[in-house]
C-alpha cells in the first residue's frame, strides 16, 4: 500500500536511521559524561552500603580456614593461626581499621584485634592457647561468630544498621549498638518535618498562586518578582539571613519588643520553629511557580458557565476550578516533599541537635565519624524514598514532567 514503491520506503527508512544515528551522536558526549561522573559514582555509592572489602580483603587465610568450621564449638587451631597471620601481616593502621569495622558488630573487637596485631607469638606452642592467654575473649564463641559472619565479600551490616537492626545468630533483631543514634526515628523526623513543610506550602502557596495567576499590572509584576527572586537566590544565603532575623537578639525579636508585643525574646531559631520557617521560605516558590503555570491555563469559560448555571462561588471553586488545578497542586506537593527530605544546609544552620535530617547523618558519617558504609546505607535509603515518592506520583498522575529547582 506504499506510495512510491519499495525503493522509496527503503530510502526513507535509511534516511530516518541516519537521522537517528546523527541525533545519538549529538547526545553521546553528555550521556557518556553523566554515566562516568554521575551514574557510576551513584552505583558505587549504593554498592558501598553492602560492600565488605575492608574486612574481606585483609583476612584471606582466616576466610579459607573458617570455611571448614562447623560453627558449633570454638574454631580449630588452624583458624586461630590463620587470623593471627592475617592480622600480623598488615600495617597497624589497617589493623585498626579492621578492628573498628568489627567493633561495629561486637564491642571490644577493636582492642582485641589491635592487641593481636602486637602480640608476640611463640611458633613452637599452639596459637589458640597463646591468644586466649593474652585475652580470654578469644575463647568466646560469639567473637568467632562475628568474624565468620563479617568476613564475607558482602555484608548486610550497614543496611540493617541504618534501620536500627542487626544480625545475631542468623536472625534479624533490634540493634544493640552502643552509640544510641536511632536512625528509624531520624527517618521518621525527616518525613515528619518534610510533611509539615509541604502542608504549610500548600496552605500558604495556593492562595498566592491564585492571586499571581489572576493579578494584573504592577501588583502582579511585583508579586511575581518577589517569588522569582527567592527562587533564584542561594539557599545558603536565605538560611543565613533567617539567623539574623530570628536569633535571640535578632531583628524580629527586637522589633517585637520595641512595639511592645512581647516582653522577653522568643526562641525562634536553633529549634523546630526555625527549621519550619526557613524551609517553607526556601521551598514555597517551588510550590507556587508550577501551580501558577497550571492556574494560568485554567479554562475561565468553564467557571463562567458553572456560575451562569447557578452554582455558588464555593461550588464553582469545588467543581469547576479545583479539578483543573489538582494535577498542578499534586505535582507541587510531590516536588516540595521530595526536595525537603534531602535538605541538609538549612537544618544545620537554623535547627538544633534534634532537628537534623537524614542528610546531616550522611554527611556526619562521611566526614566527622568516618563510617562510609553507614553513610552509603543511609544515603541509599534516602534515595530509595525519593524514587518511591516520584514513582508513586508518576503511577498516579501519568508522566507529568517535573523539574526540580535547587
Amino acid at each position: 500500500m506504499e506510495i512510491g514503491g519499495p525503493e522509496l520506503t527503503r530510502a526513507l527508512r535509511a534516511s530516518r536511521r541516519r537521522q537517528q544515528v546523527g541525533a545519538l551522536t549529538l547526545v553521546a558526549p553528555a550521556l557518556i559524561f553523566l554515566i562516568a561522573v554521575f551514574a557510576i559514582p551513584l552505583a558505587l555509592f549504593t554498592f558501598r552500603s553492602v560492600d565488605n572489602a575492608e574486612t574481606w580483603s585483609v583476612l584471606p587465610l582466616t576466610r579459607s580456614a573458617l570455611s571448614n568450621w562447623d560453627g558449633k564449638d570454638l574454631p580449630p587451631e588452624t583458624v586461630y593461626a590463620a587470623l593471627a597471620t592475617d592480622v600480623q601481616a598488615i600495617e597497624r593502621s589497617a589493623a585498626a581499621t579492621l578492628g573498628r569495622r568489627l567493633n561495629y558488630s561486637e564491642p571490644g573487637m577493636r582492642s582485641l584485634i589491635i592487641s593481636l596485631h602486637g602480640l608476640k607469638l611463640d611458633p613452637a606452642r599452639p596459637v589458640a592457647a597463646q591468644m586466649i592467654a593474652a585475652n580470654v575473649r578469644w575463647g568466646e564463641h560469639r567473637i568467632w561468630q562475628v568474624i565468620d559472619s563479617e568476613s564475607g565479600r558482602l555484608t548486610p551490616y550497614y543496611a540493617l544498621r541504618a534501620l536500627d537492626l542487626q544480625l545475631a545468630d542468623g536472625r534479624i533483631v533490634a540493634s544493640s549498638s552502643e552509640d544510641s543514634a536511632t536512625f528509624r526515628s531520624i527517618f521518621a523526623r525527616t518525613f515528619w518535618i518534610s510533611g509539615i513543610v509541604t502542608l504549610l506550602c500548600l496552605i500558604i502557596g495556593f492562595p498566592v498562586a491564585y492571586v499571581l495567576a489572576t493579578a494584573k499590572g504592577w501588583f502582579g509584576r511585583i508579586l511575581f518578582i518577589s517569588i522569582l527572586l527567592p527562587f533564584w537566590t542561594s539557599v545558603l544565603v536565605r538560611s543565613m539571613s533567617w539567623i539574623l532575623l530570628l536569633q535571640q537578639n535578632g531583628i524580629l525579636n527586637r522589633f517585637l519588643i520595641d512595639i511592645g508585643l512581647i516582653n522577653a525574646p522568643l526562641t525562634l531559631i536553633y529549634n523546630r520553629t526555625g527549621v519550619y520557617i526557613a524551609m517553607v521560605h526556601v521551598l514555597l516558590p517551588l510550590f507556587v511557580l508550577p501551580l501558577y503555570g497550571v492556574m494560568l491555563k485554567v479554562d475561565r469559560a468553564l467557571l463562567r458557565a458553572a456560575a451562569s448555571l447557578g452554582a455558588r462561588p464555593l461550588a464553582v471553586f469545588r467543581h469547576a476550578y479545583l479539578p483543573q488545578v489538582i494535577p498542578g497542586v499534586m505535582a507541587g506537593l510531590v516536588l516540595v516533599f521530595v526536595t525537603a527530605i534531602g535538605f541538609y544546609i538549612t537544618p544545620v544552620l537554623v535547627g538544633g541537635g534534634g532537628d537534623q535530617m537524614i542528610s546531616y547523618f550522611v554527611a556526619f558519617y562521611t566526614n566527622a565519624s568516618v563510617n562510609w558504609g553507614l553513610a552509603a546505607a543511609l544515603g541509599t535509603l534516602l534515595l530509595l524514598a525519593t524514587l518511591l515518592c516520584l514513582g508513586v506520583f508518576r503511577w498516579a498522575f501519568g508522566s507529568a514532567t517535573m523539574v526540580t529547582g535547587r
Binding site: V211, S226, I227, T233, L236, N249, L382
Partner: protein
C-alpha cells in the same frame, strides 16, 4: 437580586483575603533577602536595626582580605568553567534530543534529567567517594565535573524549550539552498536558539556559583569558594563581612533573573518572527 449581591460579596471577601495573604507572603519571601543589603553597610559589628551608622568598612574588609578574595576568584573560575562545559554538552544533547524518535527520546531525556531528582547530598558524597579513589577529591577539576552534573540538565531544559518552538523547515530551506550541515546550524539554528543557550548558560553559572554541598565534600580545605566561606562562618556567627559576601551572591542572582527574563522576551519575539 439579594442572593446575587451576596455572591459578589463573598467573592470580594475571598478575593481580598487571598490578596492580603499574597502581600504578606511576598513580604515574608523578600525580607530575608533584602535585609542583608542595609546590614552589610553597618558601621558596627552588631547586625541590628536601626543601624548604628552607615559605612563601607565591611566592603573594604572584604575586598582587602586575601581569604575572601581567593574565595571570590575560586567561585568565579569554577562557575565560568562549569558554565562552558555544561553549555557545550547540554546544547549538543538538546539538539540531538529533539531529533530522536519518541521511544529513544523519553529514555535519553530521563537519563539527562536524572541528576535533578537525586538529593544533592548523595551526589556530593557519591562523587566524593569516587573522586577520592581517583585522586580528584579536593581539586578544582573534580568540582567542575560535579557542578557540571548539576548544571547539565538545566541547560538541556533551557535549550530544548527554544528548540521546541523552532521551525525545522528553516534548516531544510538552508539545505535546499545548498548549505552543508555546519553552516546551516551556524547561520540558521544557532541565532534562533541563542536565547535558550544563553538562558541555559546563565542557569549553569549561577548553579555553580551558589553551590555549597558538593564544595563541602569535594573542595577540601584547599579549595574554598564564596559559599564555602559563608558556610563555615555562618555556623559560628554571621559577621558583617559574611553579609557582604552574601550580598554579592544575591546581586549575582538578581542580575541572572533579569538576564533570563530579558532572554525569555527575546525568545518570544524571535519565535513570533520566525512564525510569520
Amino acid at each position: 437580586m439579594k442572593s446575587d449581591r451576596s455572591v459578589t460579596m463573598t467573592e470580594r471577601v475571598f478575593d481580598l483575603g487571598a490578596k492580603l495573604i499574597a502581600v504578606l507572603v511576598a513580604i515574608f519571601l523578600v525580607t530575608p533577602i533584602l535585609v542583608i543589603f542595609p546590614l552589610s553597610f553597618t558601621s558596627d559589628s552588631l547586625m541590628i536595626f536601626p543601624l548604628p551608622g552607615v559605612s563601607m568598612r565591611w566592603y573594604v574588609d572584604f575586598f582587602t582580605n586575601p581569604v575572601w578574595l581567593t574565595a571570590l576568584r575560586n567561585s568565579l573560575m569554577l562557575a565560568v568553567v562549569t558554565m562552558v562545559v555544561a553549555t557545550v554538552l547540554g546544547t549538543l544533547a538538546a539538539l540531538g534530543l529533539v531529533r530522536l524518535s519518541r521511544g529513544w527520546r523519553s529514555v535519553v531525556s530521563t537519563l539527562l534529567l536524572s541528576p535533578l531528582i537525586v538529593p544533592v547530598i548523595i551526589i556530593g558524597v557519591g562523587t566524593f567517594f569516587y573522586f577520592a579513589r581517583l585522586g580528584l577529591a579536593g581539586s578544582f577539576f573534580g568540582l567542575v565535573l560535579a557542578h557540571t552534573v548539576l548544571a547539565l540538565p538545566l541547560v538541556v531544559i533551557a535549550v530544548t524549550a527554544t528548540l521546541e518552538g523552532f521551525d525545522p523547515n528553516l534548516v531544510r530551506a538552508a539545505y535546499a539552498s545548498g548549505a552543508s550541515p555546519f553552516p546551516a546550524f551556524w547561520h540558521v539554528t544557532r541565532p534562533l536558539i541563542m536565547p535558550g543557550i544563553a538562558t541555559g548558560a546563565t542557569f549553569a553559572f549561577i548553579t555553580s556559583f551558589d553551590e555549597i554541598v558538593c564544595v563541602i565534600f569535594l573542595g577540601g580545605p584547599e579549595f574554598r569558594t564564596l559559599p564555602r566561606q559563608i558556610w563555615s562562618g555562618a555556623k559560628e556567627t554571621v559577621t558583617p563581612t559574611i553579609a557582604v559576601a552574601a550580598v554579592l551572591l544575591v546581586v549575582a542572582s538578581v542580575v541572572m533573573t533579569l538576564v533570563v527574563e530579558a532572554l525569555r522576551k527575546r525568545a518570544q519575539r524571535l519565535s513570533k518572527g520566525a512564525a510569520t
